[in-house]
Symmetry: C2
Subunit: 440 residues, 2 copies
Amino acid sequence: MADALKIGIAGLGTVGASLAKILVERRDMLTTTCGRPIEIVAVTARDRSRDRGVDLSGAAWFDTAAALAGTADIDVFVELVGGAGDPAHAAVKAALERGIHVVTANKALLAAHGVELARLAEKHGSLLNYEAAVAGGIPVIKALRESLTGNTISRVYGIMNGTCNYILTKMEKEGLTFGACLKEAQRLGYAEADPAFDIEGNDTAHKLSILTTLAFGTKIAADDIYLEGITNITIEDIRAAADLGYRIKLLGVAQKTDTGIEQRVHPTMVPLDSVIAQVDGVTNAVAIESDILGELLMVGPGAGGNATASAVLGDIADIAKSRPGAQTVPALGRPASALAPYRRAQIRKHHGGYFIRLSVEDRAGVFAGIAGHMAENHISLESIVQRSKHHTETGEPQTIILVTHATMEDAVRKAVKSIEGDGYLTGKPQVIRIERPKSA
Amino acid sequence: MADALKIGIAGLGTVGASLAKILVERRDMLTTTCGRPIEIVAVTARDRSRDRGVDLSGAAWFDTAAALAGTADIDVFVELVGGAGDPAHAAVKAALERGIHVVTANKALLAAHGVELARLAEKHGSLLNYEAAVAGGIPVIKALRESLTGNTISRVYGIMNGTCNYILTKMEKEGLTFGACLKEAQRLGYAEADPAFDIEGNDTAHKLSILTTLAFGTKIAADDIYLEGITNITIEDIRAAADLGYRIKLLGVAQKTDTGIEQRVHPTMVPLDSVIAQVDGVTNAVAIESDILGELLMVGPGAGGNATASAVLGDIADIAKSRPGAQTVPALGRPASALAPYRRAQIRKHHGGYFIRLSVEDRAGVFAGIAGHMAENHISLESIVQRSKHHTETGEPQTIILVTHATMEDAVRKAVKSIEGDGYLTGKPQVIRIERPKSA
């Protein structure tokens, strides 16, 4: 039997404690599967005395992640500290510079410093594995980095934030407002006390930036993503979507276009009968469209200590199964030097369908005016629905819902601006992009 | 740059030709991603002169797969000949015995000889990769063999035969008979002239036997699978299923129970609002339920030259990215010597819900008789629907549909037998098992 794989874990929070427990409790099973034991030889955590349900007395305790990464006698450094900056950043660099493999669940770190870290890993012959950083337990990094090798990818998109998907699912199923559902998500621990990072789309954007790089071979550009959160989505939107055969999901989408790469995170209408539309609650899903394989969709738990620990464990096991220093999978799917610059496609050039919900005064000519502005901008319509809140009364504000065929975003924006200029809207217009699976 | 990876391809049919084309046309891209070129140095095919849209004049042509595997100067032997026996079997053995890595898409070969081949691969330090053998382009082998390492798996199930799923989808969407849909599938090339292997479930069983081994660490037992095809499914079943909130799919299911492992392939009712119920047409899907990760579902193309070639290419790329002789992933997820014997759970002991459709004479006491036999066997019912074909006439045969709560199959069989014994059935009873995702 080969020597034990010695690992050091920085961060014993929910994921770290879960991982440590699994490694200790399933030691024999892992030894059989991997062909050698995996041993936790070093750890660091803010609180040494906390009971984590696992005996780590045999491991060396370090005061800082950097000290562990820089000096411990380990084969793999497992970074579960989190955050884009130090101590995570410095510690991961220190490990890679020593030729030590790194496994991390840290999406913020990769979004900010992924290319630098990939370069370091290559230079020193280390592996940098980060399956847990995107969509938790779903093996999307492995699919993009390994399974789809040789494919040209045209689009990757997904539901990558459980908080948002939980809120949108609950709004639809129970007819509650965004605010009420957010509160419930917070009560259940699905949303942070400060939920902005999730509901404004930033968390999805971090993950998307990593998928974009793997899919298109461009440098990570996490700050160059079009962002719209779900805070403006109303029950009216959700109901109107359902009536028209759609469901609203917060998607991160990366897509190759003629003018560059679109990276966008926004509420999106997906066809009700598509597979991704059925992905409910905190569950995540990622779809990859490629030219040889076709469409691949993966659905699974996107967060939680265990699901994340499972992904981290898979990354560690991949290293354990190789002989030391033997594997050379480049961290970002190709050598860092071969990554192309990221060229952003303008969102105004986005081509797709749009859902437009307008609240208008109930007076003659309004409908004709709207139709006219659509025609001026060469926008053809898939459907138009006009609805009164109270069918018998006149003079009440009316709701008009338009669904366009695929068109340019610029045209939609111009048309909506002209409609606003006509002065009969009684509220802010709502515009939601439609995204269709290739096969739909 | 490392030396080129030299591959030999046996079999230049649809998949082989597609693979060869991709390897030649994307040589530069693959060289960048894998860190070294992949070169086709040897091939064998029945017809040398056929135009396959790719120039293979630089490769050595062998007369037989065995000659190629046994003598060519190659690093990887790609077996695309097919079939459980020779020439595929002998050729793969010859390659492994020479310490050459093998990539194959051959489910029949693995179902019949997988353990023997895994043992050979281990003994000689070769890799045996077969992502394409199950569910085509869906990376389910990688998920089970690598990503889920350390998880204890409780159930793996899926739609693994595109022909059957196409027929069932078309029956439901267009209200056509099984026979009509089968003919259409044959016309479109989705079904063979002799469709028995697909529609009777054998193809699914082969694939399931491989997943069972990876999931539960038991020896492959492809001949020990409970099998029911889809030929008896009628439009009435499909409609009744829809009315009750279910859809019928041919599933392969492997499940750990107290008495052993269930391996079964049969038409199955899945909840209409589950994700897997939305998987339409020739698309495949595989779900894996495990204790750490939770539920993972993967959906994608299960067949076709390109999707299969993509999976084969991913397997080759995994080898190209490692240094020669460096990786030690055991072929069946753990060393062949660590595989446990397969212990079959009896289907009569299966525990689950059942859909039972009965055609009965329209006379007094029938309903009470049926209810009585259910009660005698301690079967509790989720729903009962009684329907006349012509609502206004009496004396016409009636349809009674029962959906049971989870119960033992043995009880259901006894109850149905007693009902048959009472003599008022006007046709053969239909019994379909219900399968629920863990989360449903």
